[in-house]
Each structure stands twice: as structure tokens, then as C-alpha cells.
């Protein structure tokens, strides 16, 4: 298929329309519904447990740039966890890998403490640390920080690379509660076996959108959901038709199979 046929063009137009329609809605301030994912409850539980133990909460950020949406999702989760920690008077520490994320992380934390009326308790140099741009050094320093501060819980939220295991290992060995979230699948297996709960793939963005109430983040998520429904609907239609020998049903299946050479 060197050029789009009718069906392909319609499908592409439908995708674009859905995305732009929800963007337009969001611009007008309409906030779409996004369900809370189970991972959020586990974040709250982890902070609660650290409070009981009287030990600090450590939030480890990933390697994405401030221009990436992954970072914005992580920042909204950071804001939520920081507020929770502030409210419970639990020491809170954020580790940052990318230089241009640093000022934003600091700002998010300050806002969180301000919202809880505890701005006087916030100390930027103590609570936000830029460790290193280098993956291996960052992962090792993050692991060491978790060990040295005798953390009560560690939260890894961001895009992580092959060093994920290095940073999650010390906490797992100490037996503290660890929660991890990564928008890709590649590093999730390592987090599954070293953490108590993992936020997988798209759940990562859903958590960010749910917590931030940001209309555009939510709108995008919902429009992507509808694209999924559209495609899943096509699969379902085809699957149902494939079970019958009726010529109409077979014609539908034939229609789809044209795209599978």
C-alpha cells in the first residue's frame, strides 16, 4: 500500500479529530474524568509506612528532559507525594538526574509545602539533590542515598534505563517499601522483583493526569483511550465475524485480511 486507501485515510482522520477535539475541550477548561489507578493508593500507603517508622521518604526521578511529557507526569506525582509527606511531617528527599528538571522539582516541592502551610519547614538544598547526569553514577549514588539515610520508603518515578536494578537493589535488600513507575516496559521486570508495587506503561501517565487535574493531560489520555476503543472495536468485530461461516461475516473478515499480506 504505497498510498492510503479510503479506509486508512478515514481512520487517520478519525484519530486526528479525536485528539484535536479533546485538546479543544481542554483549552476551554473542561476536565475529563480519569479513574484513580491502584498505584496511587500504594504510594499513599508507602508514605504512611515511612511515617510510622519515622524514616525519610525518597523520591527518585528518571532521565527524561523537562520538555518531555514523562517529566510532567512525574512532577505531578512528586507534588502529590510531597504534600502527603509534608502533612505527615515526614522527612522528604528528591533525587534529580537531569539538570534542567532540577529547578522545576524544587519549585514543585516548595509549592507543595506552601499548600500545606509548612513553607518554613522546607529547605531546598536539603531536600532536592542533583546527583549526576551519568546513568551509572546516578544509579549508584541514588542507591547509596537510600542506604545512608535509612529511608522508610523509596519511590522511583520516571523513565529509567539499564541502571534501574542498581538503584533499586539496596532498598530491596533493606526490605523497605519501594514503589516504581516507568512509562516503558523494558525496565519494569527489574522493578517488579525489587519493589512492592509497580506502575506500568500507560498507568504512569494516568497517575500523573489523575493527580494533577491538568485538563490537557487528561484530555489527551481520554482521546487516546477512545482510539484504543476504536481499534479494539475493529478487532472484536472481526473476531465475532470470524466465528461464523455466513458470507457476510466472511466478507468482513476478508476486508481486514486485505491489510495483512
Amino acid at each position: 500500500m504505497q498510498h492510503a486507501d479510503g479506509f486508512t485515510a478515514i481512520l487517520m482522520a478519525a484519530f486526528a479529530t479525536l485528539i484535536l477535539a479533546f485538546l479543544w475541550r481542554a483549552r476551554r477548561g473542561r476536565v475529563a474524568y480519569v479513574r484513580p489507578i491502584p498505584g496511587i493508593a500504594s504510594l499513599e500507603e508507602a508514605v504512611g509506612r515511612a511515617t510510622e517508622l519515622g524514616r525519610p521518604v525518597i523520591f527518585v526521578m528518571g532521565g527524561s528532559d523537562i520538555r518531555d511529557i514523562q517529566t510532567h507526569a512525574a512532577l505531578s506525582v512528586l507534588s502529590h507525594v510531597a504534600r502527603l509527606a509534608a502533612r505527615l511531617r515526614t522527612p522528604f528527599l528528591t533525587l534529580v538526574k537531569v539538570a534542567n528538571v532540577f529547578p522545576f522539582a524544587e519549585e514543585v516541592l516548595r509549592e507543595a509545602y506552601k499548600a500545606e502551610g509548612l513553607l518554613d519547614q522546607f529547605s531546598a538544598d536539603q531536600q532536592v539533590r542533583f546527583l549526576s547526569q551519568d546513568s551509572i553514577v546516578y544509579a549508584m549514588s541514588a542507591g547509596r542515598t537510600i542506604e545512608e539515610t535509612r529511608a522508610g520508603c523509596a519511590i522511583f518515578y520516571g523513565t529509567f534505563d539499564f541502571t534501574s536494578l542498581l538503584m533499586a537493589e539496596p532498598g530491596a535488600q533493606m526490605g523497605i517499601i519501594q514503589i516504581a513507575g516507568d512509562p516503558g516496559l523494558a525496565q519494569i521486570p527489574f522493578f517488579v522483583c525489587t519493589c512492592d508495587y509497580t506502575i506500568i506503561g500507560e498507568e504512569y501517565f494516568a497517575a500523573g493526569a489523575y493527580l494533577s487535574r491538568d485538563p490537557t493531560m487528561r484530555g489527551t489520555l481520554v482521546s487516546q483511550d477512545l482510539i484504543k476503543v476504536l481499534l479494539a472495536g475493529l478487532v472484536l468485530l472481526g473476531t465475532v465475524c470470524a466465528q461464523f461461516a455466513h458470507p457476510w461475516a466472511q466478507a468482513v473478515v476478508e476486508f481486514f485480511m486485505r491489510y495483512k499480506r
Binding site: R35, L185, P189, K228, A242, Y259
Partner: protein, 224 residues
């Protein structure tokens, strides 16, 4: 046959790299920077010899020498957008470089729509599985039953995973909770497959190096 000097230096560099496992040390850092320098150097030369020289420099040169149609000389104009990249080095004129990077972002996006739709439609078609054993061409035999069973597991796995990653509908009711659990278990099985594969790849890296150290460097020394 590889020169002995190359093998010995290779073995030395390998051992130095592994020394990082014991302790970070200056020799390791030296080798690290040397390797980076060589990479950058070679990449520079390759970019010129493999890409710019044949595609751009030679046609322009030949157009001016008259051995090629003069229209090829127009490629000289590519220097204008190509030069824009270097405004990235200046804080003040940085925005000029966004003109050319914007062009590339646009190109990538335009192609991405096409690439994605060409990729996804066959995937949709291939997801249509026959679950009904009587609907198979050769009737409900043993093979057909097996295929139907696999088709059923596949379809359930696909739909429950999609449901798991569906966020705009309330799912905390009794009807949707069990399929979501199935979805998470399915995802865990797939993650297990990825996990096993990751372990194998990482092992392969080490085995390959050991093969070099033993097979290419040490073993020939002893066998004469």
C-alpha cells in the same frame, strides 16, 4: 588474522574496564575518555566520507566543473539550513536553529503518521483469531481445538490488557475488577518473557567478552 598488538591492547582495555567493578580508578577513566574520543573522531570522518561527500560535495563540485547538470549546483543552497544547526552554540541566536530542528520534527511527525498506520492495520487484522473449533477449515480436530484454545487465550489476553490500560471509565465495580486482574496477570507473564530475555542479553555480553579473553587472547598463547 588480527594483529597481535590489537588483541593485546583489547585484552588490556577489557581488564581495565572490569577493574571498575572493584573500584573506580584513574586508568579506567582514561580509557573511557580515550574510547569516547575515538568514537567521536571516527563518527566525524564517516559522516563526511559516507554521507556528505557523495551526496552533497561531489555533485556540487561536478556541477561547477561542468561534468554534471548545473542544477546539481543548487545543492550548495543546503548550506543555509544546514548551517542553522550551529546557532545552537549561541544563547542569543539559538532560536534560528529551532527553524531547522523544527523542520526535522515536522518531517519525523509526518512520516510517523504514515508509519504507524501501516504498522497497526496488519496488527488489527492479525488479532482476529478463530475461537470456534467448528469454524476451522478442516473441522473440529485436535489441531483445531488447540488453535482455538490458543486463540481464546490470546483474545482474552489482548482485551483484558487493553482494559487494564483504559483510564477514562470507572472500573471499580464487581463486573470489571476480575478481568482487570486477569489483565495484570497477563502483563506479568509478558514481563516475565521480557525479563528472561533481558537476562539472556546481559549474559551474552559477558560471555562474549570471556570468549574473547579466553578464546582469542589466552588460549592461543598456551597452545603456541
Amino acid at each position: 588474522m588480527t594483529h597481535w598488538l590489537v588483541i593485546w591492547i583489547g585484552a588490556f582495555v577489557t581488564l581495565i574496564t572490569f577493574s571498575y567493578l572493584v573500584k573506580d580508578n584513574p586508568v579506567y577513566r582514561f580509557v573511557q575518555h580515550a574510547a569516547l574520543g575515538v568514537t567521536v573522531g571516527i563518527a566525524l570522518v564517516v559522516a563526511w566520507y559516507h554521507v556528505l561527500k557523495p551526496l552533497w560535495w561531489t555533485p556540487v563540485l561536478e556541477a561547477f566543473e561542468g561534468t554534471r547538470a548545473p542544477a546539481a549546483g543548487l545543492w550548495l543552497l543546503a548550506l543555509a539550513p544546514g548551517g542553522m544547526w550551529y546557532f545552537q552554540l549561541s544563547r542569543k541566536w539559538f532560536w534560528i536553529s529551532t527553524l531547522v530542528s523544527g523542520l526535522f520534527i515536522g518531517t519525523a511527525a509526518g512520516l510517523a503518521f504514515k508509519g504507524m498506520i501501516l504498522l497497526i492495520l496488519p496488527q488489527v487484522a492479525a488479532s482476529i483469531k478463530v475461537v470456534n473449533p467448528w469454524a476451522h477449515a478442516d473441522g473440529p480436530g485436535g489441531q483445531a481445538l488447540l488453535a482455538s484454545l490458543n486463540g481464546l487465550v490470546f483474545t482474552v489476553g489482548l482485551l483484558t490488557t487493553l482494559l487494564y490500560f483504559f483510564f477514562s471509565v470507572r472500573t471499580d465495580n464487581r463486573l470489571l475488577r476480575p478481568p482487570m486482574r486477569v489483565g495484570r496477570v497477563m502483563i506479568m507473564v509478558a514481563l516475565g518473557a521480557m525479563f528472561g530475555s533481558t537476562v539472556m542479553t546481559r549474559m551474552a555480553y559477558l560471555l562474549d567478552r570471556l570468549q574473547f579473553l579466553y578464546g582469542t587472547w589466552l588460549a592461543p598463547l598456551f597452545s603456541g
